[in-house]
């Protein structure tokens, strides 16, 4: 059942491509703004680059999950979805994993522009960077899907979503910035393992809480 739901998310996205395209264009716009507002100087930027990257990811996430839940509101599709005889926790899981896939696609496409436009060197250990990025994406998306599940069907959802998401996701952003910074400086694993642990905790805790709560949140 989960695979069917996931397939539905991916299929809708494959048809319209509106989520990935809006995420990528918005991400590019943010990179441009960062470049203009920081007087591109590689020496200075290299210290802020991890933070900038994750700020960009966070903003883009808001756009992504907003779209992902907003198209469900058209024709009241979400009411039909939650009245289907399925475990509603699976809807949450499918939103989470599909959002994670879109976010990862967006990051892969924006990776090169980000580094090249801001004129910084690529990380020394690209595979390590990729692996941690995937974990961080999972963590950001699990919080974002849960919060958008709460905020989306309320009035003023486009305001409530970032207001609720940013404080809740702050541990992930702190950890992500620390991990990326450490990897870019080539520090050994022992120096940043605690941050990976926090990311994993967020994934597990919010995954379980979200799976349990989503049933009650969407109750009609």
């Amino acid at each position: 059942m989960f695979l069917t739901l996931l397939k539905k998310e991916l299929f809708v996205e494959f048809r319209t491509r509106e989520i990935t395209i809006s995420m990528i264009v918005f991400g590019l716009a943010i990179i441009l703004t960062f470049a203009f507002s920081s007087n591109v100087s590689p020496v200075i930027i290299v210290n802020f680059a991890p933070g900038m990257f994750w700020i960009m990811v966070l903003f883009v996430t808001v756009i992504g999950v907003h779209r992902s839940f907003a198209y469900e509101k058209e024709f009241d599709a979400f009411s039909m979805l939650i009245s289907a005889p399925i475990d509603r926790g699976l809807i949450f899981l499918s939103k989470w994993i599909s959002g994670f896939i879109f976010l990862t696609i967006m990051e892969i496409l924006l990776f090169i522009p980000f580094y090249k436009f801001l004129m910084i060197d690529f990380p020394i250990q690209p595979w390590l960077a990729l692996g941690t990025t995937i974990l961080i994406n999972l963590a950001i998306m699990v919080v974002a899907s849960l919060v958008s599940g709460i905020a989306m069907r309320a009035r003023l959802s486009e305001v409530l979503l970032p207001i609720l998401l940013f404080p809740l996701v702050s541990p992930v952003i702190i950890s992500a910035t620390k991990i990326s910074g450490s990897i870019m400086r080539g520090e050994p694993y022992a120096l940043w393992d605690i941050w990976l642990l926090i990311i994993l905790t967020v994934i597990v805790v919010f995954g379980l809480v979200g799976y349990t709560l989503f049933d009650f949140i969407t109750e009609e």
């Binding site: 709460i150 003023l156 609720l164 404080p167 541990p171 919010f206 709560l213």
Partner: protein
């Protein structure tokens, strides 16, 4: 429905708590020892920390009320959650106001990204979102469920936020009262007393607020 303080036991509690609180202030001003390098400023500790305790206790109650609301589906738990969230935010705001006031003479600057203070700030921001949800959420029945789940998520997030902020800037670890148990008894006992009195005060405030919310709901329902 009648006034909260028409009930005799509530009146007794109110008088008792006023008496206890006056005793508490007198005790803090007169009996507690002066810490040499902080002088009077150290005595801020006796209300700052109990306020934080009451705030976090209140947010814990929001979480419990949220869970109970989902299990029982009882309107009453929604009111408990709302009341606890409001009072919790009142005390957390007091912590965020008195913290910088205390920090100014002790650290030399009003704000340091100290883990406990930062966690409190983040929690405060989440609860601003909570009240925005309550106020602008629209559909009343849904908003109750959203608010309950937000209360649960917010409290689940607290330990994670605390740990991450703690390791975020390890050089900033100069909280004035780090080890509670290593305090001399001259400070510890009045502090625990103050903590207890604040908790009793909180219990009365929670009951009162739930009562006022019920009165309001009933008035609206009667129309």
């Amino acid at each position: 429905m009648q006034f909260f303080f028409h009930n005799k036991s509530n009146r007794v509690w109110l008088v008792l708590i006023i008496g206890l609180m006056l005793f508490n202030i007198w005790n803090i001003v007169v009996n507690t020892p002066m810490v040499p390098d902080q002088h009077w400023a150290q005595k801020i500790f006796y209300v700052h920390v109990p306020s934080a305790w009451v705030g976090f206790l209140s947010y814990f109650i929001v979480m419990v009320a949220g869970i109970m609301y989902f299990i029982k589906g009882d309107e009453h738990w929604d009111k408990v959650g709302l009341a606890a969230a409001e009072i919790g935010t009142l005390f957390i705001s007091l912590v965020l106001i008195t913290g910088p006031i205390w920090a100014t003479p002790i650290w030399g600057q009003p704000w340091i990204w100290e883990p406990r203070l930062t966690t409190t700030l983040i929690l405060f921001l989440i609860y601003i979102g909570y009240f925005m949800m309550r106020a602008f959420g629209g559909h009343a029945e849904r908003v109750k469920r959203y608010a309950a789940s937000l209360g649960i998520i917010a409290f689940v997030d607290v330990p994670i936020i605390f740990v991450s902020v703690k390791f975020w800037a390890p050089e900033i670890q100069s909280h004035p009262q780090v080890e509670m148990t290593s305090q001399p008894p001259g400070i510890l006992i009045p502090f625990l007393l103050s903590l207890g009195i604040f908790t009793v005060l909180y219990r009365l405030m929670l009951k009162y607020r739930i009562h006022v919310i019920q009165v309001n709901y009933k008035r609206v329902a009667d129309v």
